[in-house]
Symmetry: C2
Subunit: 348 residues, 2 copies
């Protein structure tokens, strides 16, 4: 296919080379033979510097994320689907219906084209599952040793349906805190892979798109107060952030918190609090007490929320402090702090 | 300011550390003390995973770019303003009015906070000039040696005014090709800095926002056919791409092509074709012959287009070939090919 005057890319043995990022023939070839082949969209077909289209009417929701996860491939996913789910979920956490995605790659010279193709394939099928189209992209290549294989940056756009008003400031004392499934799977999946730790049974990342789960929840309670996916920093950082924004306290019930046995065992072994572990396919919902049971049922009826649980409550701030507390299974209470140092670099 | 229970960031001697990317206290501190201090916007103040707002009505234009320029600071700019201008200009090339920007950073552990602050300051003032707000952002940190200082990924959103229909497929035989100023300044500025080549007088990058120039051009000719900024791959790659998309040929007049003396001299020294050099603040316009003179005047009346020139014409394809040709000052003709290899890695 000498459209670019070059031999077709060799996706078996080929590698990323500096000219793939130069803006010349090799770049055009990589776009045609890899990206356009997997990412089909009306907007990419325009061949324009910018995509132009009319999105569904309503308020726009936009979120951007960079992904530097290491290793690039892990049990349950890879940097590709993780990057799609990550941005799609952030938009879903505003109650929006995600529709469009932009994708930027920073590639290291010498990276195998077969791995890049696997990543792009994973992105394409994650996009299809999540109902988003890739509308714009960019690729840069840096010299060997100046990056670590592949970094991905995604930006997701969605539209917020009328009447939805989800915001971290809306948590009110009395609200119920729901979680959509067991926490910490992603964190332990990455860690076990990275450090070569073997557990009794394999832990698989929870990476998944959450927009249809959110839609199912909003169908029974359009007035959900807060939604958040507890990624980096885990449930601990997410709830501390919300507490600070809304000027409230939070109390969690340890007995209700879903954590898989193997994840709990790994946490004990590694000295990590499961509340500090990143999830990539779970959400926290803060919901008026009147509708909590109904919302929980709607979650449990959805494939992404089968193991959903009510795990705690929003309480008034204690003095001027917006604490997150945990009622332990032994009847005590302890503060759930932000993760302090860098326990888990490059978790996403 | 013990909001995060940490001492304030030291922007004189401090460095980026892994915890700045962990999603814990240190991340929250970096966001508050650096990003929120420089990037003010209603959307960032929401403290949400996604920004939610109602953009101006009309078709949406979106473009994403990654920036890996080396060195990070160069005569006339840095990776920060370059990253803002790059995405803003791509949106402007669709005839859109840019309004919003997302920003992703991949930082290398150990990168000086003072340099990061300079970059963020440059971004903030470039955003102000270009009339865009930062609505969403993300920061990741990788270990020392796993990146090269800073990579930036920006996505710009804009709105296309009614009646504007700019597309690379709309170039028609007879259309006039205009350039907004001298080409190649950015490419030579980077190269001279990188290779320590000294020229008679300093070459400064042309990095600049082009949206108001585009608005001035559209005011006199709403039916501009094509707009493109000749970044990576330069004028040569840009016109070859357009020729291919529109199935036309292009002929350029070398005598009319504005290239600064010092840039021409550097090109001769380095054996580079100025048509292959990246510009980061120039545009090419392809415009109906009837209005070309008027559009050119409007460009020359704008600060970003003072040295604008008509440099060539669109012609019918020759056989099945969509060539870009150059009529040389010596009366000959030569093919202007895509840049073939990697002459200038990490130019943007």
């Amino acid at each position: 296919m000498p459209k670019h005057g070059l031999r077709s890319l060799d996706f078996l043995r080929g590698r990323v080379e500096l000219p793939h990022g130069s803006g010349g023939r090799a770049t055009a070839q990589l776009i045609d033979e890899l990206f356009l082949r997997h990412f089909h969209s009306e907007q990419l077909a325009q061949g324009h510097d910018a995509a132009v289209w009319s999105p569904p009417s309503g308020r726009l929701a936009v979120s951007t994320d960079c992904f530097v996860v290491s290793p690039l491939f892990f049990p349950g996913g890879c940097i590709g689907d993780l990057a799609v789910h990550g941005s799609v979920n952030d938009v879903a956490m505003a109650g929006a219906v995600p529709h469009s995605l932009t994708v930027g790659f920073v590639l290291e010279e010498g990276f195998p084209l077969c791995d890049l193709e696997r990543i792009v394939q994973a992105m394409a099928s994650a996009c299809q599952c999540a109902g988003v189209s890739v509308v714009s992209g960019d690729t840069k290549v840096v010299e060997r040793g100046k990056a670590d294989g592949v970094f991905v940056c995604t930006t997701c756009l969605g539209t917020v349906p009328r009447g939805i008003n989800i915001s971290p400031t809306r948590a009110r004392p009395g609200d119920v805190i729901l979680v959509s499934g067991p926490v910490g799977d992603h964190g332990i999946a990455i860690l076990s892979q990275r450090q070569g730790i073997a557990f009794d049974c394999d832990v698989v990342s929870d990476t998944a798109p959450l927009a249809t789960l959110v839609a199912a929840m909003l169908a029974v309670e359009p007035d959900l107060h807060v939604l958040r996916d507890p990624t980096r920093g885990g449930v601990a950082a997410t709830l501390n952030e919300i507490a600070l924004h809304a000027q409230v306290g939070v109390v969690l019930d340890e007995a209700k918190l879903p954590v898989r046995k193997v994840v709990r065992a790994a946490c004990e072994l590694l000295g990590i609090d499961p509340l500090h572990l990143a999830c990539e396919g779970r959400l926290l919902a803060i919901c008026p007490p009147e509708s909590a049971t109904q919302v929980l049922k709607a979650m449990q009826a959805h494939p992404q929320g089968q193991d959903a649980q009510a795990i705690g409550m929003v309480i008034p701030p204690q003095g001027l402090q917006c604490f997150v507390e945990l009622q332990t299974t032994f009847g005590g209470r302890r503060i759930v702090d932000w993760p302090a140092g860098e326990q888990l670099p490059r978790i996403c």
